[in-house]
Amino acid sequence: MSASLPYLSLILGVPALGALITMLLPREAKQAIRVLGTVVLAVPLVLVAAVWAGYDPTVPGPQFVERYDWIPSLGAQYFLGVDGISLALVALTALVAPLAAIASWNIEHRAKEYWVLLQFLVVGIFGVFLALDYLLFYVFFELSLIPMYFLIGIWGGPRRDYAAIKFFIYTLVGSIVLIVGILALYFLTGANSFDMIELAQRAPAAVPEALKVPLFFLLLAGFAIKTPMWPVHTWLPDAHVEAPTPISVILAAVLLKMGTYGMMRITWPTLPDVARELSGVLAAFGVIAIVYGAFTALGQRDFKRLVAYSSVSQMGFVVLALAAAAGAPSAGLEPAIAASAAQAASSAAVFMMVAHGLASALLFLLVGFWYDRTHTRDFDKLGGMFRTTPVGATFLGIAAFANLGLPGFSTFIGEFFSLMGTLPVFPVAVYCALVGLVGAAMYNLTMLQRVAMGRPRPEYEGLPDVTGRELVTFVPLVAGMLVLFWYPGVLMEILNAPVTQFVAKLGGM
């Protein structure tokens, strides 16, 4: 189905244009810059809504395709398109970006540069989810890196210098290895093209057996670090703790998803049989991430660090589910069960990405909410917020229960179905993951109690409760979490076709 407007290019172009315009504005005109930035970042939401409306859920392949030659001599193209999987994440980005923008209004220090970088960052993220050409994908993948460095490095906390460069170098290690993998693929397939779909189709035949596993790791490393998979996760807590609130929000809600998205879009479909062979190992790493992340989170005394580690734990579910989807065909189940297990797992993986995006965004906003008021994230200094700021605390309660996988909120669907799909394939992994589920309850409730319960310290009596601007940022996320639980179909229906194709690629049916 073809669109009248180049929606996808617009989704990319509007923020980019906004950034350029912002550059031209005088640095004194902060208010104008803010308004412009917020509006510019809100526009994609409308565009995505249009795309969603025009999206045909029955078609598995990419839609709204735009492709033009970029580097003919290499066969690289400007090739955009969405299928259900990417559309889900694009929508998530489109939702989170304006919220982050609104949350950025209180940034006074070098506001102009901040907004320029923020808008470029968003462009990069959109690009990653929209690109269907390897080279283009890679360009955006890296493009999201540089603004992030500055956003953490300039507007970050006391140890921003360390955190920023750690984030930059650590993620660069992975992504720069990725390009080697991509080029290797490009040459081995011999198709003079960077077209993801085409290469994915040719790869299994074209790549010699000896190279498959190394190539798989080249294609995995970048995404594993971005996700972050255990044990390459340690950049995350530092980055989160130092980053300003809106950036933490984007980082947790969207940026991490680039990793798992990459696995789904590139790593798995390109080398399905390797994914199948290694699915056990991958599942192990996923489970370790779940349990390890949960208990590490429980061991933190810093509000933001705890939330950061919870991200590690939650993304573990996604990795586990993807591993299960890859391993299902060889698990010796009867085909019908294997297929629906794989489908459940991979749909749940995407669902989990979105759900975690909403929950973690809310959590980081709340961290910022109290940090702005009390200038501390130390549990020992917080407490009693149910009394001082009841509304905020209520949101924290919602976030905590949502995050621990309480039914009624989207995260539950993600966790439940990812594990449901995994159990037939990797039962042991699931039984281990149960420990992680209990751990999740432990750290989330600990967080809730340390922050919201108990007696507030005297100096925090009479803190201002949620302002209108903050409410505007909280409510959509809560709404999203509720909607996605009570009417999961809204997301599942667009996922079904592409996921079925994905599972088919993995030899699941």
Binding site: T296, G299, Q343, G397, L406, G408, F412, G454, M492
Partner: protein, 625 residues
């Protein structure tokens, strides 16, 4: 019955309204909840009537979620059992709501309280009628969350927080096992609907070892959920602590409804348990053990609510045991009656606490003269719990003992009987210490006075079913209980046995008499008793060391693990990363020192390089051979 799905909706609406308008309404907000419950109760009554009229139940569902070929239909089902439970739950909840109007008067978070109990009731009612695992889990967990928040209602106190945390985490341990059980059933059946499961199980019934083993695994995993929610050993530790919450909450959640959900879970998935004698045996013995254990602990409790809490644990164990020995009907029937009289007892204790502002029975005494209604109703509840004819408890307990008697484990029958005796004993003790004898705390005794109508009426109204539910049941059900509450073709009842009745009653009366002898007449002083039974007494005071274990293993263990892992993460995993960076920089310094600034170093290196290069190339090209 088609409108049964509306029953949970009323309290849900009450919840929503209270959340959004509660603050404006102030204490009037309580009435929203009451109104909601009135509507729910009325509807429940109507549904019950229909159910009685038409033996075959009603179910309806609609597609809710489609993942690939996997479709999940959700809906509700009403059958006799559900109908009975609906009416019980909504009635008790209504009573609790009313009671709370007075009990929570002037509380700082009055609205929050009412919102949560309304939400809780909605969840419980939803659970009763839900027809698939996923929504079962939904209501189940929402109940857990409400319970958590209500136990922590006065969260300023650390111990209340701790109690709430304990409650949620302990039950969560069971819940995740239950989830695993559900996923396991999905693995087997590819569905999440109870009826599909049942169909599949009955279709494959007796399909050999693998099938039985699978059933055992599934049953035990699911049983984990029941162990958590219904406070079976060893996960029972949370329930007594849960008394930290307001007493009406204890009455509703931790006596009548939520804790019963665990038992109900077993009933709901009974077709799985049936297939595995192993699972049934585990269930039966664990239940019996829990019943006995809790009863013994209850004997030495001095906090009136704790006594009731342990009695709850004990009674739940009773029901579980009943299920284990195939007494499906008995268990459900006891669940039903127990709901009434345990709620009554808790509300009674609430009234007492409201009057004297203490929970310690040793600071009470002689209150019968002041709190006549309370005392009378409490006595009814006590007799019902002790299983004295013709009180409701007698019938249900008798059914259970009967089932145990007919099972292949006679030991369970005697265990049940002994437990019955203990129950009678500690309830007598509680009654006497609270209401009779001379006041041990005159000053409190002076200020004690009966509460207002919103406190007394619920007691009276609950006293009626507590007394009559037993012998009225057949008339209500228009059928013998074991025909009304049935499980498939399998009829859950047996013909009454005079022996069983005799033994049961003997033990009960014996317990009561012992109680009177010790606490009423004081022929045997408690001091001498303690002296005589020093060791057992210590063990009981220490609650058989279960709490100690919980502190060490669950709390201590998890925190220790957390600290260790966090340390490892910082030092090892992250240390490795920074270590690599440091090594590289160190190499940098080394290589820097290479360029000494001396031309000679440079030229020397240059020519050493030349020679090396020459040799290398000669080697490569075979020039050296």
């Amino acid at each position: 019955m088609e409108s049964a799905w509306l029953i949970p909706v009323f309290p849900l609406m009450a919840f929503v309204l209270t959340v959004f308008f509660g603050r404006r309404l102030g204490e009037r907000a309580g009435w929203i909840g009451v109104a909601g419950m009135l509507a729910a109760t009325a509807l429940a009554a109507a549904v019950f009537r229909d159910a009685v009229a038409s033996p075959e139940g009603y179910a309806s569902s609609f597609p809710w979620l489609q993942i690939g070929d996997f479709e999940l239909r959700v809906g509700f089902r009403v059958d006799n059992l559900e109908a009975a439970l609906l009416i019980m739950v909504s009635f008790v909840s209504l009573m609790v709501h009313v009671f709370s109007l007075g009990y929570m008067h002037g509380d700082a978070r009055y609205n929050r309280y009412f919102a949560l109990i309304s939400l809780f009731t909605a969840a419980m009612l939803g659970l009763v009628i839900s027809d698939n695992a996923l929504f079962w889990l939904l209501w189940w967990e929402i109940m857990g969350a409400c319970s958590y928040l209500l136990i922590g209602h006065w969260f300023e106190e650390r111990e209340n927080q701790a109690a709430a945390y304990k409650a949620f985490i302990t039950t969560r341990i069971g819940d995740v096992l239950m989830m695993a059980g559900f996923w396991y059933m999905f693995k087997l059946t590819g569905s999440l609907r109870f009826e599909d499961w049942q169909a599949w199980v009955q279709h494959n019934a007796g399909a050999g070892m693998d099938f039985t083993r699978a059933m055992t695994v599934a049953a035990l995993l699911i049983f984990g959920g029941a162990v958590g929610k219904s406070a079976q050993a060893p996960l029972h530790v949370w329930l007594p602590d849960a008394m930290a919450g307001p007493t009406p909450v204890s009455a509703l959640i931790h006596a009548a409804t939520m804790v019963a959900a665990g038992v109900f879970l077993i009933a709901r998935t009974y077709f799985i348990f049936e297939q595995s004698t192993t699972a049934l045996a585990v269930v039966a013995f664990l239940g019996a053990f829990t019943a006995f254990l809790a009863a013994t602990i209850a004997v030495v409790q001095s906090d009136i609510k704790k006594v009731l809490a342990y009695s709850t644990v004990s009674q739940l164990g009773y029901m579980v045991m009943a299920l284990g020995v195939g007494g499906y009907t008995a268990a459900m029937f006891h669940l039903w009656t127990h709901g009434f009289f345990k709620a009554l007892l808790f509300l009674g204790s609430g009234a007492v606490i409201h009057a004297v502002h203490t929970q310690n029975m040793h600071e009470m005494g002689g209150l019968a003269r002041k709190l006549k209604v309370t005392a009378a109703t409490f006595a009814i509840g006590m007799l019902a719990l002790s299983g004295i004819w013709p009180f409701s408890g007698f019938y249900s307990k008798d059914e259970i003992l009967l089932a145990a008697y007919h099972s292949q484990y006679p030991a369970l029958f005697w265990a049940g009987a002994v437990t019955a005796g203990l129950t009678a004993f500690y309830m007598t003790r509680a009654l006497i210490l609270t209401f009779f004898g001379r006041p041990r705390d005159p000053e409190r005794y002076e200020h004690a006075h009966e509460g207002g109508p919103e406190l007394t009426w619920p007691l009276i109204l609950l006293a009626i079913p507590a007394f009559a539910a037993g012998f009225l049941a057949p008339t209500l059900f228009k059928a013998p209980v074991h025909e009304f509450i049935t499980f498939g073709e399998h009829v859950g009842g047996h013909e009454p046995e005079s022996l069983v009745v005799l033994v049961g009653t003997l033990f009960a009366v014996g317990g009561i008499l012992a109680g009177i002898v010790v606490y009423g007449l004081g022929w045997i002083s408690t001091r001498t008793l303690r002296a005589a039974l020093e060791m057992p007494y210590y063990v009981l005071r220490e609650k058989w060391f279960f709490d100690w274990a919980y502190e060490r293993v669950v709390l201590g263990g998890s925190m220790l693990l957390a600290r260790v892992v966090a340390g490892i993460d910082r030092l090892v995993v992250d240390g490795l990363v920074n270590g690599v960076a440091r090594v590289v920089v160190w190499l940098g310094d080394v290589t820097r020192r290479w360029s000494t600034g001396l031309v000679h170093t440079y030229m020397l290196t240059l020519f050493a390089g030349v020679v090396a290069l020459a040799l290398l190339i000669l080697q490569v090209t075979g020039g050296l051979r």
